[in-house]
């Protein structure tokens, strides 16, 4: 009964809230007003039902904190259980790996193309994860590094005919340089000030690309970028797509491998320490400047590489692909995935990219649903898809010591 009253209240409140925008439509030039009362009914009904779901979810979230199995052990989420069980994890990994390898042969070029985009976002997400998830520096202009990589390849290819493989390290280097250029002045900034400066930096890069015709060909962008060749063999579009697909699988594997190693290295632990408490970290003798700059530079490097592949894949780039929204999406991947967790970030990248693509059936509503998903995820799972596990070192007693 209590629930019914609350839902009724929510229903009335949302009917009131959406009344002018949803019900009325005016045309000031023609001086006509259109009333759409039916819409109000739908909103009311929707609000009524959804408020039940909302409360149920909130309740579950509150319960979830202290949830235990019948035998008293705490409930471990499936994905975490997975990482605690190496043989099972390994076999699942194997299945995924085989699935990924045969994908282009089972599905159409279109599907492969989308998977390439998704993998580009995995690399971007993992790269930003170094900066945001591991070292705790909030960066809102990550698309600038992505653009640096993409434009390096596009322009070098256009003017000097440089190939993909030459451009890949150059693009990564250019992006890393951008990372350091941005990193040095913002060393003193933290939190939201850092966020807004990086946002400004991202916008400046995009605006310069848009306005400086002589350098970047302005808003019309660079077209006719060559696809990567396989030992100087010209590939057909299908062939090139498959080739880029495998290339991306390699890049993703490399990214995961490197970041996994980095995470538990000396510098990786310094990042984590920096994230947790900057002052304590510096007091313990960590070089703040070096640590922050390596985070920026390494994070940017992956964006640069992803950018080069992006340019090679679309064969056409323009500044419109590197807006603030792009940075926000990549950040969303990192946060949705669970900051610092490699598995989570990869899953979130797939989710963020594939969701809108397969929601095409509801094309009108997909961005609405997308925004709502982001909010709901944060409300009900703020730790992300997979909460990252810190490396633990346990002392195991050996038989000899017992004996």
């Amino acid at each position: 009964m209590e629930g019914f009253k609350k839902s009724l209240l929510a229903c009335i409140w949302f009917m009131f809230l959406t009344f002018p925008l949803v019900v009325i439509r005016v045309d000031t030039a023609e001086k006509t007003v259109q009333w759409r009362w039916m819409h109000m009914l739908w909103v009311g009904l929707g609000a009524f039902l959804l408020s039940y779901v909302w409360r149920f979810m909130l309740k579950r979230k509150a319960m979830g904190r202290s949830a235990t199995n019948p035998d008293g052990t705490p409930v471990v989420p499936f994905l975490q259980r997975l990482s605690a069980n190496p043989p099972l994890a390994r076999s699942i990994m194997a299945v995924i790996a085989i699935g990924a390898l045969v994908f282009p042969w089972l599905f159409s070029t279109y599907q492969t193309n989308i998977m390439i985009s998704a993998m580009i976002y995995i690399v971007l997400g993992l790269g930003l994860n170094i900066v945001v998830g591991l070292s705790g520096q909030l960066v809102l202009g990550y698309a600038a590094f992505y653009a640096a990589g993409a434009y390096s390849y596009a322009l070098l290819n256009h003017h000097f005919g440089l190939g993909f493989w030459t451009a890949l390290p150059l693009g990564a280097g250019a992006a890393a340089l951008c990372g350091i250029i941005l990193g040095i002045p913002v060393l003193r900034l933290r939190g939201d000030y850092l966020a807004i400066v990086t946002l400004g930096f991202g916008e400046i890069v995009r605006l310069v690309l848009e306005n400086w015709n002589e350098f970047s060909m302005g808003p019309s962008g660079v077209s006719g970028i060559s696809r990567p060749g396989l030992f100087s063999v010209e590939l057909s579009v299908d062939g090139a797509t498959t080739y880029i697909y495998y290339l991306m699988i390699g890049l993703v594997a490399l990214t995961i491998f490197v970041i996994n190693r980095l995470k538990n290295s000396r510098i990786g632990r310094a990042w984590l320490a920096l994230r947790e408490d900057e002052i304590a970290c510096v007091a313990m003798g960590v070089d703040r400047m070096k640590t922050k700059l390596t985070a920026f530079a390494l994070g940017a490097t992956w964006a640069g590489m992803a950018g080069v592949v992006f340019a090679a894949k679309t064969t056409f780039i323009n500044p419109a692909s590197f807006t603030f929204m792009e940075s926000a999406m990549i950040l969303a991947i990192v946060v949705l995935g669970g900051m610092g967790s490699i598995l989570g970030v990869s899953l979130a990248a797939l989710l963020i990219l594939l969701l809108p693509e397969y929601l095409r059936a509801f094309s009108e509503y997909r961005m609405l649903l997308f925004g709502a998903t982001m909010v709901l995820f944060m409300v009900f799972r703020p730790q992300g898809l997979v909460s990252s596990e810190r490396q633990r070192y346990e002392f195991k007693e050996t038989k000899e010591s017992q004996g």
């Binding site: 000031t28 807004i196 925004g371």
Partner: protein, 300 residues
């Protein structure tokens, strides 16, 4: 000299527009330290609500001034309601989560609201009637400052003064400052923190609503994307001035407006945004917490 003056007033116009939106940003940030990316969308909803009221009342044959008054009131009521609801749904359940979660939630909210208005109304640009009209006494100065601009400047100044007084001298204002300084402590001392935060959102959204209607009168057209763009500029202004500080938001917005205007006038408008963001980066490098912001004490 005349050219300089004209550019000066151009900058003042732009600055006051940014300031009106930046005030709401800085309010919310000051209290709960959240970059409310959806603030721009509230501003956009304010403009749309104003347009709908104007449309209905024009069809019924009301005079322009009455329409403006009603449009402002209705926009304020609705935007407050949106701000309040948004806080309850997207931010309140996230208190105590890590700092990035509310930010992502805000970005999600921003995408949601934009598409909600797109579906409920239209993706096209809509004409917004000039409800303010042209004042007769402004006739001679119209070439440097429009009547709508004058109103925006006056309202912004008034809003700033009123807010400063409210926060300094009223009981609720004191509660707000207490919440901003230390939420837990304020709660222990009997401040109703939930109410304070709700009120902050309501005030911030009301300012956005007023801004939405008045600025739309000036630009003469609205669309679902106006909030996002204005929001980024206003937020830049707020950070420039020292986010959380009310006079800072005003100062930052004016500095931003003047920079853009003079850069356009004496250099080129091709790079006006580059100048704006470049200035931001420069100022923050030398004053890491903005022009009027207090340097945060580092707790060890």
């Amino acid at each position: 000299m005349e050219y300089f003056l004209e550019l000066f007033f151009g900058g003042l116009t732009r600055g006051s527009i940014y300031a009106l939106i930046a005030l709401g940003y800085t309010m919310v940030y000051g209290i709960i330290e959240l970059i409310n990316f959806a603030h721009g969308e509230i501003y956009m909803i304010g403009a749309f609500t104003g347009l709908i009221v104007a449309g209905v009342l024009t069809a019924m044959g009301f005079p322009a001034l009455a329409i403006l008054a009603v449009a402002l009131v209705v926009a304020v009521v609705y935007c407050s309601a949106y701000g309040y609801t948004m806080e309850k749904i997207a931010y309140k359940p996230l208190r105590g989560a890590n700092r990035l979660s509310p930010l992502i939630s805000a970005i999600g909210m921003s995408i949601f609201l934009q598409n909600y208005v797109l579906l409920a109304q239209t993706p096209n640009f809509l004409p917004f009637p000039n409800l303010i009209g042209e004042f007769e006494f402004m006739e001679d100065y119209a070439h440097i400052l429009g009547s709508a601009n004058l109103v925006i400047i006056l309202v912004t100044a008034a809003a700033m003064v009123a807010l400063t007084l409210f926060i300094k001298y009223t009981r609720m204002g004191r509660a707000m400052r207490a919440t901003a300084q230390n939420r837990k402590m304020a709660m222990l001392l009997g401040v109703n923190v939930d109410a304070v935060i709700s009120l902050t959102f309501i005030i911030g959204s009301s300012l956005a609503a007023i801004g939405g209607v008045l600025i739309a009168c000036h630009t003469g057209q609205i669309n679902i994307t106006i909030g996002f763009i204005a929001g980024i500029k206003a937020f830049t202004a707020a950070v420039l001035g020292g986010v959380g500080s009310i006079p800072g938001a005003m100062l930052g917005a004016l500095v931003l407006g003047f920079t853009e205007s003079f850069a356009t006038g004496y250099i080129s408008s091709d790079y006006e945004d580059v100048f704006a963001f470049g200035l931001l980066v420069l100022i923050l490098i030398f004053r890491p917490s903005g022009l009027l912001g207090k340097a945060p004490t580092q707790k060890v």
